[in-house]
Amino acid sequence: MAAKKVIAVVFGGRSVEHDVSVLSGLQFLEALDPGKYQGLAVYIDPLGQWWTGDALTSRARYPVEASNNKDLTQLSLDLATPANGRPRFLAFQKSLLGEKRTEIPFDLIVPAVHGSNGEDGSLQGLMEVAGIPYAGCRTLGAAATMNKVFTKSRARSESINVLPELLLRRPKKGVFLDPDGLKRDMKAAFGDEQYPVIVKPCNLGSSVGVGKANTMDELVGALMAAFRLDSDVVVEPFVPNLTEYNVAVRRGSDGQAISSAIERPARDADLLDFKNKYLAGSKAGGPKQNTGASEGMVSLNRTLNPTELTQSQEQFIRNSAEKIFDTFALAGSVRIDFLCDGESGEIWLNEVNTIPGSFAYFLWEAADAPLSFLALTDHIVQEGFALSANRLGATDAATSGATIFTRF
């Protein structure tokens, strides 16, 4: 029997979505086929340090404190992989005879880091430089879809319905927001009917930093909060009678984009913010159980395959999602979120999550042709190997006649 491929699942990260990512990463590891793959947990702490160790697979181990990490091994990623064959992590352990270096080889990295420094193409770029096979979206698709304004501009050019927006840049240090200038910008973007509006960071997901404003004062407050998280902030009109719909897309074996079941997340508050998205039904700060079935995006109350959608609405959601997946040449399991005015029935594309919480597996398990998370992880892993293998041709200078130095 061939040796099992070692799949390094990288989670945590320097991101406000660090904790959600830990759950997604552990869920992915738990859904890897033990007959084909050997999972390797790789945790990036909020300081950006990389760790591995069996203890990481237990939810009770989090948060990992700097004073309590004796059971973990600190890693560094060897970027010289192309010269040395199989990718590897390096670990350094102090012993009586000095520092000992150990190598931990692996075959593929699965990025499970949500938000900045993971979902935004930066981690993917690092893998490309090092020639390390990785799963999911490539650098361009991951980076482009992280920017909500850029995503919407591409969607517009593909005739996909999106809301108008106003993009604001963080004021320079020591400078306050200029209310008069803001008023002018708001009028230019939205006309006379301006409020209420939704304020959200341009480059974050998971509804972190999202706020609603009914007046100029509230808008300034919401902007200040959002600027703490991102230098660019988007203001959009608030959709009345708001209902959200999400759908996941992946590439089928025939190369066509396939969409999953559609979900309608439950909403208690006016707006789906981080607290009711991820902490619904659990006490914030309470001990985490070491269970896997109901947590993260999975614990969010939702209606799968909602019956109120008309055939044309469902078609719009599916077609738009598949089109945007193709436009950005995405990969893996991507969740695409839509906004709907429950009364008028109009639907707008909202955002694209290239590494969605829990890899959106619950949407695949509820699809017309159900796909178990076990089969989904296999698809994501196999696709990652294929995409990384196809990436570039020869990099030898001689192949393009670009040699300057004499080679013997």
Partner: protein, 252 residues
Amino acid sequence: MAEHFIWRHSNSGGGTESFVWLHGWGYTRAGFQRLAALFQKDGHNNIFDLPGFGETPMLFSGAGTSDYADSLAAQLDKNQRHIIIGHSYGGRVAIQLAAKHPKLVKAIILIGGAGVPRRRSIPYKVRAAALKILGKLARISDQLLGTEYRQAYTTRFGSEDYKNAGELRGTLVSAVTENLGPVAREIKCPALLLYGDGDKEAPPEIGKRYETLIAVSRYVELKGYDHHDILTRGAYQCEALIKSFLKDLDHE
């Protein structure tokens, strides 16, 4: 009696294969909700509430695993051979069923299945023997002198399961004191044995023991799972291992 006794169950899925799910002590059929859902496409799933649990009434006072197996056999489709999946105590019933009613069983799958004695350290054995004597003395004292030592003894030294067993106490005592080793030897059908390496209730040594006892068996230890979370966060690991086992069954 057994013919008229119906075990409450939910059935789902479809296909030619028949899966029979038997939960562990203190659980109900809801304990298999996550895992059984992954086998909807692979066959017909009957997920039972064992007698005394969930919606199924008690069988009779002091009923043992063998009685449970006979009662279950009476209501399984006789024209088919079933795949029995048992967790913990459900594993004991699966062992009994496979040994006593071989014509009904195609294969058994134990997940943290109990039933053979664990190796214990000498200090543990000494303590257990002392406690047993103490329990007997408490009972004698209660009977002769009207004291209430037995209840105090149970509160102090009884396991959670024992304290909560209520009318099923006789069934629980007969289960924890029985050794299914000789019964397991009689099993002719293939068995898959899944054990979490962090399982304290039914540790891997039990699975390894069953592997030596059952003629055609496959033992797999799942790293990082315990007796309970093997059914939830370990569901996909179990799914993969069970499906590859079933595939091999069909090739034999």
